[in-house]
C-alpha cells in the first residue's frame, strides 16, 4: 500500500523551508502531513535536493516519535501515558486496546483500519486517561469504554463522541491554520 510520491511536492516543501529556522524537522513534518507518513522515495529526494546525507535524514526520521516510516491506520489511536493518566489507570486502557485490536503500540491492523500509539503526555491531565483518534479526544477513559470507542470509530457518519465532535471542529480549524501557512 505504498503511496505514489510526487517529486514536485517534495521539492516544494524543501524550497519552502530553505530560509527558515525549522530545518530538517520542518521539512519532514510537512512531508508527513502531505503523504500521511515518510515514504522512502521522499527522503531520498530530500537528500539529493539538500545535500544532507541520507544517513542523517534517516536518523532524524527514526529519532522523533512524531514521524512514521510506515503508513498509519485510517484511525490512529493515541493513548496518553503521562504520569497523571498513568496513576488513573491508563496502562490498563492501552492493554485493552491491544487486546481488542490484536496489535501492539507502533503497529497497524492488517486491514489498515486502526493503528495504535502511546504518547507521553498530551497536556490535558485533569481529564485523564485520554484517548484521541485524530482530533477527537475521549476523556476519563476506563477499560470498559474501549469497545464503545472502537465501535463508534468504525461508523464514521455518527458522532463518535459529543465532546469529541466539538473538539474536532475546534482543533480541526486550528490544524488547518497550522498547516496551510
Amino acid at each position: 500500500m505504498e503511496t505514489q510520491v510526487n517529486a514536485e511536492k517534495v521539492l516544494d516543501i524543501v524550497r519552502k523551508h530553505e530560509d527558515g529556522w525549522g530545518g530538517m524537522i520542518a521539512v519532514l513534518t510537512d512531508i508527513q502531513y502531505v503523504f500521511g507518513y515518510l515514504p522512502e522515495e521522499a527522503l531520498r529526494i530530500v537528500a539529493s535536493a539538500t545535500g544532507t546525507s541520507l544517513a542523517d535524514i534517516y536518523g532524524v526520521a527514526t529519532f522523533y516519535r512524531a514521524f512514521s516510516l510506515h503508513p498509519r491506520g485510517k484511525h490512529h489511536v493515541c493513548v496518553c501515558l503521562g504520569t497523571a493518566c498513568h496513576v488513573r489507570g491508563a496502562q490498563m486502557v492501552v492493554e485493552e486496546f491491544e487486546r481488542q485490536l490484536n496489535i501492539r503500540p507502533g503497529e497497524t491492523t492488517p486491514d489498515g483500519n486502526f493503528s495504535l500509539e502511546t504518547v507521553n503526555c498530551l497536556g490535558a491531565c485533569a481529564l485523564g486517561p485520554i484517548v484521541t483518534m485524530g482530533n477527537a479526544p475521549s476523556t476519563k477513559v476506563c477499560p470498559s469504554d474501549v469497545r464503545r470507542i472502537l465501535k463508534a470509530a468504525r461508523k464514521p457518519d455518527e458522532e463518535a463522541d459529543s465532546l469529541g465532535a466539538s473538539v474536532a471542529v475546534a482543533l480541526g480549524r486550528e490544524m488547518e491554520e497550522v498547516t496551510t501557512i
Partner: protein
C-alpha cells in the same frame, strides 16, 4: 599569551597546551585512562563513559568524560579517585552484561578486577560506541552508515537497511569495531573472562556462531579470502 594552561592533575601542578582534552593531557603525563569509543584521528564522542574523571573540588566535584572535556586554567582533575573507580567498574559490569564475548571488553574488565556481572545476561554485537560511524564520516567521507532510533531502540546501520550507494566497501567500520574485532571463542563465552585469550582471528571467518554481527560489506573481503 603562550597558549599554556596550568592545572592540577592527580595532585601535580602541570602546564599543558590550551585546546587539549583532559584525556590527552593525562596520557601525556603517563596517567592511564581506559577508553572504548575513543580513537586517535577520529573526533571524540563521549558515549562509553569509561574515560570519566573527577573534576573540581568537593562538594561541587563531578565526573566528566575526559575525551571531550577541554583543559581549563585552574582545573583540578583526579583520574583514579574512588568515585571514578566505582563508576568505571559499574560501566564495565554493564558492558559485560551485554557484550561478553568481546575480547576488548573482557580485557578491560579483567584489568579492573571484575570477575562477574550481576544483571540478566544479553548477547549483543554492538555497544553503539559510534566508532564505525565516525570512521565512515570523518576518514572515508562517505556517511554510508549512521545512528537510527532512540534509547533502547538505537542502532547503527545503513538507511532503510539496504545496500548503501555511498559505501565503498573499505572495511574501515569493521577495522575499528571493538566488539567484533577480537572475539573470545572459549567454549562457554558467558563465563570466559580470562584476559589471556590468544585467539586473534577475525570473527567473521568463524561466521556461524555470530549471525547478527554488523557486516556492511557485500561481498565481504575476509569471507572472500576464506573461500580461496
Amino acid at each position: 599569551m603562550n597558549g599554556m594552561i596550568h592545572m592540577t592533575l592527580n595532585g601535580l601542578t602541570v602546564s599543558v597546551e590550551a585546546g587539549m582534552t583532559i584525556l590527552e593531557a593525562a596520557r601525556f603525563f603517563g596517567f592511564p585512562i581506559p577508553t572504548l569509543c575513543h580513537m586517535e584521528g577520529l573526533s571524540p564522542y563521549g558515549a562509553c563513559r569509561l574515560c570519566v574523571v573527577e573534576i573540581g573540588e568537593a562538594p561541587r566535584s563531578k565526573l566528566v568524560s575526559s575525551c571531550s572535556y577541554p583543559v581549563e586554567e585552574g582545573l583540578v582533575v583526579r583520574t583514579a579517585s574512588a568515585r571514578v573507580l566505582r563508576a568505571r567498574k559499574m560501566v564495565l559490569e554493564l558492558l559485560l552484561a551485554s557484550c561478553p564475548q568481546s575480547k576488548v571488553i573482557q580485557d578491560l574488565a579483567s584489568e579492573h578486577d571484575i570477575r562477574q556481572q550481576r544483571f540478566r545476561q544479553e548477547h549483543e554485537d554492538c555497544i553503539l560506541c559510534g566508532l564505525c560511524v565516525r570512521m565512515c564520516e570523518e576518514q572515508m567521507m562517505a556517511k554510508a552508515i549512521g545512528f537510527r532510533g532512540r534509547g533502547e531502540k538505537r542502532s547503527i546501520g545503513t538507511p532503510f537497511d539496504v545496500h548503501s550507494e555511498e559505501c565503498r566497501l573499505c572495511g574501515g567500520c569493521m577495522y575499528v569495531c571493538p566488539a567484533c574485532q577480537l572475539r573470545c571463542t572459549y567454549t562457554e563465552p558467558d563465563k570466559a573472562i580470562c584476559g589471556g585469550c590468544a585467539n586473534i582471528s577475525p570473527p567473521c571467518v568463524e561466521k556461524d556462531p555470530y549471525d547478527d554481527m554488523m557486516c556492511y560489506m557485500a561481498p565481504c573481503v575476509a569471507c572472500e579470502i576464506k573461500k580461496d
